[in-house]
Symmetry: C2
DNA sequence: CCCTTGGTTCGATAACTGTCTATGTTGACG
DNA sequence: CGTCAACATAGACAGTTATCGAACCAAGGG
């Protein structure tokens, strides 16, 4: 009843070869995290108190402020973060289903 | 006693903001998997019988042979795959420590 | 109102990346 | 040797991306 994007997406990486479509979908997530600046922003949001952070809390990653905004947009477009304006500030939080999906992707096979 | 690269690398994504160096290292892995073709190649190797596959087993991903070779090289350089020549064929297998490292990265926090 | 502060959007640019064709290289087999 | 099959490397090119400064938009105070 939610968004159609809430599906499990893909089996574990080690289960079987991905189809083109599965690969396309999963690659988007990996690609979004495949940049050092974005990874720092993501971990900053994910580990911030209350599960959310305003941009001003996490902007200290060594690039200009427009660049921070650009990367946050990419993370939003990849479905990893959501944003909400509250008064003067904009708060970002991790999309909850995402970590579950990634965990599923990396679930190890039978350990022997 | 093994390679110095066998370190845990990084804490879970949700534990604390990554340092620049941690982000750099982890992003390399994510970036390598952030391409649909590479993801198909990786899953094909990871799921192949015996834990390894010759290039000829996995080359059917819709791009030319040199392109396959190029992507396999990227996966090797990222430390995700290793290769070994045996006679005419070259076999690729998943670097075992990698899945463990990725699993650690995505370990969920306390679920409440 | 105007100004300040927090963020986003725009436009430009340099760097990187995925893809191809063409060419090498390596090993097996007559 | 010569040839063939399996992969890799080299070089070229188009498309994408990370970055910046400048301009813009939104919300609160004076």
């Amino acid at each position: 009843m939610r968004e159609p994007d809430a599906e499990p997406c893909c089996p574990p990486l080690t289960e079987r070869p991905f189809t083109a479509e599965e690969a396309e979908r999963s690659a988007r997530m990996f690609k979004a995290l495949g940049d050092p600046v974005r990874l720092r922003l993501f971990t900053a949001v994910a580990s911030h108190e209350g599960g959310e952070a305003c941009v001003c809390d996490i902007s200290d990653v060594g690039v200009s402020q427009p660049t921070v905004s650009h990367h946050l947009k990419k993370l939003r477009e990849a479905g990893l973060l959501t944003s909400e304006r509250r008064g003067t500030w904009v708060f970002y939080r991790v999309e909850p289903s995402v970590l579950a999906a990634m965990g599923r992707l990396l679930r190890a096979p039978a350990p022997a």
